[in-house]
Amino acid sequence: MRISKEEVLRVAELAHLELTESEVAKYQQQLDSILDYIAKLNAVDTANIEPMAQAVAAGAEGGVNAAFRDDVIVPCSIGNEVLECAPDAEGPYFRVPKVIER
């Protein structure tokens, strides 16, 4: 096996994901076969190959300085609408279970 049950649980923990017993078992088996498939990449020689993060680099191919803009303040007036989307809000705050103990 490429991935153990403990690893699935550890990763679920990192991702803040509650999984049932049967999900853990199913994912372990399915991820194992996917990782098995992905292992075919080991056959590719990638020495001296740069990793690629963006398909078309900002600033390239006519995207003149595309990533940069002037740092100016623009008004945003949708604060109330944003709070209305929240499951539990009391303007101007989102409410969550207490995280600080006194």
Binding site: I3, E7, V8, R10, V11, A12, L14, A15, H16, L17, E18, L19, T20, E23, Y27, Q30, L31, S33, I34, Y37, I38, K40, L41, N42, V44, T46, I49, E50, P51, M52, A53, Q54, A55, V56, A58, E61, G62, G63, V64, A66, A67, R69, I78, E81, V82, E84, C85, A86, P87, D88, F94, V96, P97, V99
Partner: protein
């Protein structure tokens, strides 16, 4: 005005240009057009499940605005009165946007995506939001929390995915055009399976602002239409720099429509042998080879190519995609929007909310993405994937030194039966084998219909161009469509 086809249950097939003529000649009003399409949706959507949410108020207000312009004899914008559908991963102010997920079941965005804003500024009438695989993760539309979409051509089969609702809506005549999103094939593959043109622009060509992210280095917005000219019209409206998307490109936008008639004689088309391997169904192969022969008859020169890293693309894709998706989906925490499942502690609330709010495929990909990014595996998987992505992209760059465009099948198989692939995620992933390469490399691609299998299922021909080569891609697609219509 085009003739009404009394025998067709779908009713009249409108196009952007036939709508313009009919409106200008006052044969129909924008309001009547909207009503006609809502009527079709009411009739056919219970069967197809293509739409999740309708927006009649917004559609009617826009239609009335267009009718007012007609009454005042004002110049009409390019999409005046065109009834359109929007995939439910694209934000629409005041219209529920679910991403096909329970976790956003009641989410109503406070702003519009740039693409939607551009369409409406050009006069389009937004009918509603279309069904899709949850967070655009899937190739069959069976991963929607709101039930699968059925293929209008064959109701026991999938429409493809993830933009299955948009493809089905346009193919069934419920909308004249639709927006989809493509991350690994999610526009092109459902376009192929439903038998309509479907375009993925160059990465950065269309603003992603307001597109709820799946994988930020791959996601693109593009159109579904019933003909290539409409695709060119829509691309001209959607393309261009947007200050709200720092990855949107400033490259000049060509006049895609006026480029359509140019002869394709003498163009060199690459036929990469890796796209014609054993995984392809014989019926698809036969149609695609016939399609390529049509292009040759138009005077294109066929150049056999090798793109040697093609076979690694699916593996690379499922590393990059799941890594980016697991990061993007971290935002669904039950705090700012969407579902909240209460918990005694903040952590408990996060875990329960995400555990219950996300469906099986989303959780599977979050687990895989978190795994490939985690300490000890990052180099072996994520970094390795990024390096092979460079090689997949180099295959395209090398090819475009020899040819103007690359022609391949869109999907190795026609529409498959509902439920046929749901138990084995890997077999579903392999449905994207010919589309993910273009996704990883950022090039534009279109799928155009190239006939039916003996069972009557549509087959798609895929045309790739170099970065920002939309004009060329559309020109070839149009020439192919015109030649196919003659046959």
């Amino acid at each position: 005005m085009t003739t009404r086809d009394a025998n067709s249950s779908a009713g009249e097939r409108w196009s952007i240009s036939s709508i313009r003529q009919a409106l200008t000649a006052k044969k129909i009003s924008a309001r009547e057009l909207a009503k006609e399409h809502f009527g079709r949706i009411e009739r056919d959507n219970p069967r197809l499940n293509a739409f999740l949410t309708l927006s009649p108020d917004r559609a009617n207000a826009q239609a009335d605005r267009i009718d007012g312009m007609i009454a005042r004899r004002e110049t009409l914008p390019l999409l005046a009165g065109v009834p359109m559908a929007i995939k439910d991963v694209i934000s629409t102010r005041g219209i529920r946007t679910t991403c096909g997920s329970r976790i956003l079941e009641n989410y109503v965005p406070p702003y519009d995506a740039t693409a939607v804003e551009r369409l409406e500024s050009a006069g389009a009438v937004v009918l509603g939001k279309t069904n899709c695989d949850e967070f655009a993760m899937g190739s069959s539309n069976e991963n929607s929390a709101y039930g699968p979409v059925r293929n209008p051509v064959a109701p026991d089969r999938v429409p493809g995915g993830s933009s299955g609702g948009s493809a089905a809506a346009v193919a069934a005549g419920l909308a004249v055009a639709a927006l989809g999103t493509d991350t690994g094939g999610s526009i092109r593959q459902p376009g192929a399976l439903c038998g309509i043109p479907a375009m993925m622009p160059t990465y950065g060509r269309v603003s992603r602002y307001g597109l709820i992210a799946l994988a930020s280095s791959l996601d693109r917005i593009g159109p579904f239409t019933t003909n290539v000219r409409d695709a060119a019209t829509l691309m001209g409206i959607l393309a261009g720099r947007d200050a709200n998307d720092s990855t949107s490109a400033g490259a000049p936008v060509a006049d895609y429509v006026s480029g359509l008639g140019a002869p394709v004689k003498g163009l060199r088309l690459g036929i990469p042998r890796e796209y014609f391997g054993p995984g392809m169904s014989p019926a698809v192969r036969q149609k695609v080879e016939a399609g390529i022969a049509t292009l040759e008859k138009l005077g294109c020169k066929l150049v056999e190519l090798s793109m040697p890293h093609t076979e690694y693309a699916i593996a690379v894709y499922y590393i990059i995609l799941t890594a980016e998706a697991s990061s993007n989906l971290a935002r669904y925490d039950g705090v700012r929007y969407g579902l909240r499942v209460p918990g005694a502690t903040l952590m408990e609330m996060y875990r329960q909310t995400r555990g219950r709010g996300f469906g099986a495929e989303v959780k599977r990909r979050i687990v895989l993405g978190t795994y490939v990014l985690s300490a000890g595996y990052y180099d072996a998987y994520y970094l390795k994937g990024q390096k092979v992505r460079t090689l997949v992209t180099k295959d395209f760059r090398d090819a475009f030194e020899k040819v103007e465009a690359i022609v391949t099948p869109t999907s190795p198989v026609p529409a498959f039966k509902l439920g046929e692939r749901t138990e084995d995620p890997l077999s579903m992933y392999l449905a994207d084998i010919y589309t993910v390469t273009g996704s990883l490399s950022g090039v534009p691609g279109i799928s155009v219909p190239c006939g039916l299998t003996p069972e009557g299922l549509p087959v798609g021909l895929q045309i790739f161009g170099p970065h920002f080569g939309e004009e060329r891609v559309l020109q070839i697609a149009y020439a192919f469509e015109q030649a196919s219509n003659k046959n």
